[in-house]
């Protein structure tokens, strides 16, 4: 399990299979939310992830295994719902308040 302190998160990557659909939508929604904290958000196909892509990877639970394999040293936070998943609130909370993100 890889951990990171929320205050060290500067760049979040949203990964999905193609990096064409759902990750693009989510990137748009999260970028607005997290820009308040100076955090940037981008999107990537899961197979093109590396440990240099971002500080934290967000991806659908069904792809989390592949994401972790592609970026073994980066915390991977899995979600099930594209809208309103508690994972997004958790991420925002540790970025805002600090604390360990264990994903």
């Amino acid at each position: 399990m890889t951990t990171i302190d929320g205050t060290a998160v500067k760049h979040v990557v949203v990964a999905c299979e193609a990096g064409m659909g759902s990750s693009v939508l989510l990137t748009n929604q999260l970028a607005k939310r997290l820009s308040t904290y100076g955090v940037t958000v981008s999107h990537s196909p899961v197979n093109r992830l590396t440990d240099d892509t971002g500080d934290v990877v967000l991806c659908h639970a069904g792809l989390a295994g592949r994401a972790q394999q592609a970026a073994p040293g980066t915390p991977v936070l899995a979600f099930n719902l594209f809208m309103g998943d508690p994972a997004f609130d958790k991420l925002e909370a540790v970025i805002r308040d600090g604390g360990t993100l264990d994903a």
């Binding site: 999905c16 299979e17 193609a18 064409m20 659909g21 693009v24 792809l63 719902l81 594209f82």
Partner: protein
């Protein structure tokens, strides 16, 4: 964000908006959505197979009764022209346990569709707009509601 505004051709055109459709299930809805992309010459027919493949990995349902079927990373090679198609199923269709009323099919080789996706991301947070898209019988309204916001910095 890369500059994706140089090509000003809208990705969603009138010919890509089909309202009041009927479907039997999610597989059929994805097939119909893919066929529209083929019909408007946006993708090679094999792209539709990659849409089914992608759908089998993770459902493309994104909330508010919307699904966004699209191909796999490898399927990008089968895209001729970045395009979207809007298919409305007023009676709804079971989409991996959720009910979808709209399928927005995506064909993109790169990030040409950022502007319209940014708008869609916003629409999904506006319940009244999402409801209009689920129920309208006017294609022009769909085009107007999904037109990229020119003031959006990601566009």
């Amino acid at each position: 964000m890369p500059d994706t505004t140089s090509d000003t051709t809208p990705l969603l055109l009138r010919e890509g908006v089909l309202l009041g459709l009927a479907t039997t299930d999610r597989t059929d809805a994805v097939r119909q959505a893919g066929q529209v992309l083929v019909d408007i010459d946006a993708v090679e027919p094999a792209y539709v197979d990659s849409m089914h493949e992608r759908e089998a990995m993770v459902s493309s349902f994104v909330g508010e009764g919307f699904a966004i079927p699209h191909g796999t990373d490898e399927g990008r090679a089968l895209v001729r022209r970045a395009s979207l198609a809007f298919l409305q199923f007023p009676e709804g269709v079971d989409w991996a346990g959720q009910t979808a009323y709209v399928a927005i099919a995506i064909a993109a080789a790169e990030d040409e569709h950022m502007g319209v996706m940014s708008r869609l991301a916003q629409v999904l947070l506006e319940p009244d707009t999402a409801e209009r898209l689920r129920t309208t019988d006017d294609p022009e309204e769909v085009l107007a509601l999904l037109a990229p916001d020119p003031t959006d910095p990601t566009h």
